[in-house]
Amino acid sequence: MRPLTLRRLLLQCLLLTVLLFFVVVVALKFGAVPVSLYALARDLLRVIFGQSSQISSDYGLIIQNIRLPRIILGIIVGASLSVAGTSFQALLRNPLADPYVLGVSSGAALGAILGLIAEPHLTLAPAFAGLLTPLCAFLGAAATIAAVYFLGRREGQIDSTTLLLGGVITASFLSALIMFLMSIVTSSNTRGMAFWLMGNLSTSFQKSVYWFLAAGFFVASGAIYTTANDLNLLLAGEKEAMHLGVDVRRVRLVVYVAASFLTGLAVSVSGAVGYVGLIVPHIMRFIFGSDHRTLLPTAALGGAIAVVVADTLARTVVAPNEIAVGAVTAIVGAPLFIYLLRRRLA
């Protein structure tokens, strides 16, 4: 009998954090513009010690202003999607659930398209012009979250099966709407949309956006983490969980809102990066077990590692061209998922 202790949890997280650090260093080194490790180390130290203004070299600026923000975005997106995926798998009691199953990504895509259509007719201050698409996407996601919540209720509280059905129907309805809109929107806009729909980390934002994303991630993940133990019990059975002291209604609501919020955040800035939210939880469960007190933080770190690796591949394999990061996660993710599936059944 070896119950989970704080020490073991911290050790596991530390292990993954170290791995993430190495992955980030490698990602910083490789790119369309090659950088030597020495130059990298020197400029990183300058950034850390707040002497960024001293970075004058071409490479330094590229690292600081393009590559590093992109990696940070990848970390936040990967972590958000993995935590959301883990949460939905617990909430819906379904190992096939991923962050998009309840239609949040379709709602975000619809919002983004509507934003793209409206853009020529709006005059915006320069600082906000670049934020229009992610903002519209997030609003679309929020609206979908609310709609699916009301669809998914039974007798006043969320019911797993009803929620899943409501979400799937909403997702396909929204996808149909998106296809309709894309067929009437002018061709240049749809080019940008297609890339976004596949999941793409190349969009750059103002500094404040990254802070906001990080804050949003920690708040929402923190809220989910407080229910980690409850989720363990919920997976043993809903009725049983209530008899064991879980406030099922409250837990369901918190997890649903927080996980959908995480998904909406990620999708708004990067489009729908697939497979991360589905597979990373399973891999972490395979290595560390199903206890959500471990699973949630390790999934977050694992997702960050996965997306940074995928994005590094996406921007180096056919450099200086890029492929969408969603394409890489799909190519790697699908066979990996099949492998995991077969292991489970074996």
Binding site: I66, R70, A129, G130, S187, W196, S202, P320, I323
Partner: protein
Amino acid sequence: MSLLLRLAALAAIAAFLFFATPLRAQSASPDSLSAPAFREVVDETGRTVHVPQPVRRIVSLAPSMTETVYALGLQDRLVGDTDYCDYPPDAQTKTKVGGGINPSLEKIASLHPDLVLVTKAFNLPETVHSLEGLGISSYATDPHTVHDIITSTKKVADLLGVPDAGAVVGDEMQHRLDQLQHQLATLPPRQVLFVVWTQPLISVGRSTFIADALLRAGAVSIVDSSQDWPHVSLEEVAHLQPDYLVFADSHSETVPAQVDALATLPAWRILSAVANRRFAVISDAVNRPAPRIVSAIEELAKQLHPEAFVEKPSDAKEKMVKQNFSQSTKPFQDFAFIKQNQPLVTHKTVGECACAL
């Protein structure tokens, strides 16, 4: 009526409709009741096309083809074009058949065209095959350089029975390009990034006529990709630091705001072209492989190499003398409506973007 009889009647009606429709598409346009002559040509995609002669009714499925038809003075023969055919303004009054990718075949058929003009880049092979199935011939162009555009125009003119107009237009274009080349001869080309889309960053590949147009304007695209619409890494652009960004936008007034917005992003700000607001805006004629592209090339050249276009007094006088000398000489400014068999007249084309910075 028994069920069997009803089914038989239904089948008969269906068969009648099925066989009647293509006949209607083929059926006599007023002039071709006499034995139609055909000319066999190979279009620019390598297809063999049977073009009925003479070509009286034309449908254009690409804005560039519409512009070419107008440039050749054949607008009276144009019976239909797409929703996107907006230049010249008169083209907007023509019957619309839908988009370039998904035009209404029924609408096209109802116009009884002798020939449909398409381009490989803008239209789909499925459309051409469907039209073939209806007995309608399509001719496709596929220019990859500005020179290709000139030869395409001449070939189309020949096909449509107006080789002389084709020669006039083609030579006009060549003359202006040669003139430009002469003016830019001694100047080093500017390194530019042609921006199709910003997020994600999409530019043009080396085999596109746009890239060639840039060359003719004294610019070199920093993107060297075999894809036509490559997604380019911002890192690479930051490394190469182009002198100018080039935007093609019919709504030129939005571009400065767009660049200001980019300047707020740290990732874009490290491009000196963004930080110093060095960008050129030209009309979207550059996106269309039609005679008007030469105007766009000239526009771009003026913005990138303003020093080459300072008018010396002697040059100006020479120009005026030339213009006054003969009304029938080819116009130095933009050609537009060339009416066949009429003296050539100059018109200032509407909608030209005069936005040199």
